[in-house]
Amino acid sequence: MADDLVNITIDGHQMAVPKGTLLVEAARQIGIEIPVYCYHPKMKPVGACRVCLVEVENQRRPMMPACTTTVMPDMVVHTRSDNAVEARGAVLEFLLINHPLDCPVCDRAGECDLQDFTQKYGNGNTRFIEQKRHFAKSKQVGKNVVLDRERCIMCQRCVRFCEEIAMEEGLVIVDRGNRSEIGTFEGRSFDSKFSGNVIELCPVGALTAKTYRFESRPWEQQHYAGICNVSSLGVNITVDVRYDEVVRLRGRMNDEIDDGWLSDKCRYSHLAIHSDDRILSPMVRNDQGQLTKVSWAAALERIVQAFPENASQIGLAVGTRLSVEDGHMLLRLGRGLLKTPNVVHEHEAESLGTNTTLTGRVKGCDAADVILCLGSDPAKSHHDFELRIKKGLRNKARLICIGEQPALVGYADYQVIGVASELWSKLKKELKKETTEEESGLRFPKPRPWEAGGETSQDWDALVKEIRGAENVLVVVSGDIAGQGLQDVARDVEDLGWNTAPHGVIHLRSGVNPVGHESIGLIPEWDEDGNQALAKAWEGMNTDSGLSYAEMCRGKTEMLLAFGCNPLAQPESKKPKFLVQAATHPDETTEKADVVLPLSMWVEYNGVYISTDGTVQFNRQAILPLGEAQPAWSIARELCLRLGASDLPENPRAVYSEVGSLHAALAGATYKDFQTPGQYHWSYPQQADLGMPRPDLSAIPVKEPDMPMWMPAPLTGSTVEGAGRLHRGQTPPPVPGQRDPREIAKLLGLNHPMDRTAPPALTAGGAEKKDGYIPLRVVPSTSAEPAGPTPAGRHHEIGVGPRRRVAVPVAQTALLEASDAADNTTEDGGEE
């Protein structure tokens, strides 16, 4: 047996684990659950709550907290002995003494560790009959965070997150002893970029999200594995859906990228999905210059007719929030069928070209000796990356910021402000110089800037020495690096010999999926040699170099189709003769566009996204497209069909297989890739499940657990949840081959409850709305009058006594109109 393994016995299971492993972790490896509150695998253990007590044989004190005890040779641990069970029950009883137990109104109920552990390990009864401690209920501690002090169990996870992970001032413990409570410094608000994480971390319902308060219950949700659609880091998220509505986003553990954290920018990005200003139907600008709603068929017809004779006068601009599949179908439309060379994504100007290989990875921060931020501030554009840099700082990295802006003020060990490109060439020259000096004499312990008392140094020589002594250097550049004069940084780093993955250069791209779009060729220059397969498959495709995005925005083409981007917001932009925009929300371009198409947002369809460091990830559809919105690949497909193409892939899976067969950069890719862990991240245990055991008794030490493809129930309407319920607010998916019940209702002139309508208006009965009450819709039995024409003059009453209610009958006239309406629909209904 290797020296660094120790033998221990937990509940009779013998196992060998590496030295220094905590007992909780060791137990989890063989699927034994030890309840924890304060322990969190990504934070330092503190041993505050004591719920993890286990019995260890031959110790002076037999009960040990499993979260702070490391394994010792030949330790014998019992987690289910009488002593352990009793101790755990006692701890829970203490925790519940001042706990309000108002689970019915608590947002955490259903996924609360206190509920779960009390059910499993608690005493099932309380001996406490005295008055509990009561506080005023909700207290808003930050813009998005609401605190209920009664429910707090003082595990200090939130406080430690602010201190340790976010490394900034945030939540603190106010008062001491049994009066301690969570709060902020007097008069300050807890408005961090990462504040939402404490909500997820809190094991109970003490910290809740403003946006999610009383919105939903965990037992009515479906959870889908998604990818953040805000930054190009590819942060993994869980999309929680209630009745086909996204109610919240949570972090999903991916050690390579997000480490389980999620910034507020992404956490609350779901609010845009159901916002009131979503564009939900196709619109065409009429002669008066107003956008009017039209059918999809009419809108697409209008576009097809507007295509100019000269194909090179057509431009296709692709937003980077779109998936690889979207990009591929738009490429097919543009280069393949319209035969225009102008198909680019909106951030192509930042591209370093396909020949440059960058070796930097997000996880490279962890083991880096020096993190060198060049040029613009990475923390400003990529919030989640800031937490990763801070993780590196805690490990061993020195942070060096060189550039125009003060980046990460207060965290940098060295900071030089100036023109980034000049400073970089100076630094590069000095680093290349041979030196006899002893390297890295600087690693003497002195307070770091982010620790109390440390200072950011401006000492150039010390900085150079520091870099020279470093083995692993991660160079962070972001945004438009050519504009910052840093376009050669990749080559320079190669010269310096730093490019060993995961270190080297990491280029934090703007947008979400620019790398994905580049790998399928949505850039002005067409790589003919690399795309032989494509040229063969799409006969006669255009392989010239086209216009750049900026040129298209300046109106260089007669017709511009903008998919998920906003070209008229660019400087010096000019509206082309004919402008088509597919958008989710109105913006500058929508105001002037001739045709506006409703575009689906990322949770509404399956798609593949490639993150800034090249991780290929799959985002699963969580809800049905809202209104008449369509994903870009499907719009592009429709247009292709109208241009006479046939044999087009019919769903994202097929599109992605085509991507795999035609593009060299993604050769062989299919959706099957996402079933195995590895470079392709798929389903990792959710943060909420961290306290739970992973049943894997076979492998010690534990291997990467094999996660099968996680397939939540499909949205077909065949599940119990999806079956056609008469619920207000629920949109059941249409069943293929059947008429949508909503449509039938409309034909019958009924206000179908499945439509999102306003609450029913009050009927007779003299009920007035009083403040705070929803009055009864009661018709007194004596004055019961049918509310509308009734078949054969009959009406029907439900109920007896004072609460009698008159049903609104089906008017026969409505039935007549229905048949007329049905005829009309069939006449102009056919879309294709």
């Binding site: 019915p104 009920a767 009450y773 109920g799």
Partner: protein
């Protein structure tokens, strides 16, 4: 001969039952003119109850929705306006729909309710021309303002022993802040209104 007598006796016995029933009053009820007595605990249409001070008992916790085996309940909860609360505590139901066509009248919802807000009452005459007419909204389910009943819960539970009463939901029209009722609505800094403003509860106003 004996056999004939035996047969006649048997025939007489059989016919006596026929004649006895012939002379009895019919048991058939001429519904709807004539109504049958319904057991007090029969489960009919749902009613949402109020406290004596007029506030709704329902806190929108979604437990009934969660337990409903038929998926008949749809609720949307909302935060109470502090000045103008709809229910006790922080939370109330903004939307409360019961689909009587899906409901199987099992009564699980009233069992699950931590505040005794929903009960199935004796109203079993349920029919409608349209599906919509049998989709009950909160306005239809709530008992009228000014009335605050406990519904059939009164017939369900025997009075708990004195020493256990603090663990059993209070069977009163008051919010008394006891550990059980406070746990259901989240007492926090709520005022306990010890004296009811207007004792409006009427016996038998359940239907």
């Amino acid at each position: 001969m004996d056999r004939v007598i035996d047969d006649l006796i048997a025939l007489g016995k059989g016919l006596s039952i026929t004649f006895k029933n012939y002379l009895e009053k019919p048991v058939t009820k001429q519904y709807p003119e004539e109504k049958r007595d319904i057991p007090k605990r029969a489960r009919g249409r749902h009613v949402l109850h109020r406290y004596n001070d007029g506030l709704e008992r329902c806190v929108g916790c979604l437990l009934c929705q969660g337990t409903c085996p038929a998926g008949a309940i749809y609720i949307e909860a909302e935060e109470n306006d502090k000045e103008n609360p709809v229910s006790k505590g922080e939370r109330h139901a903004k939307v409360f729909d019961v689909d009587l066509l899906r409901c199987i009248y099992c009564g699980h919802c009233e069992m699950a309710c931590p505040t005794n807000a929903i009960t199935l009452e004796n109203n079993t005459a349920l029919a409608g021309f349209t599906r919509e007419s049998l989709l009950m909204h909160k306005e239809d389910l709530l008992e009228p303002e000014g009335s605050s009943t406990l519904g059939t819960t009164e017939y369900w539970d025997p009075k708990p022993p004195e020493d256990l009463s603090h663990r059993v939901p209070a069977q009163t029209g008051e919010f008394d802040g006891s550990s059980t009722s406070a746990a259901a609505v989240g007492r926090g800094d709520l005022d306990l209104n010890k004296a009811p403003k207007k004792p409006t509860r009427k016996e038998g106003d359940n239907a």
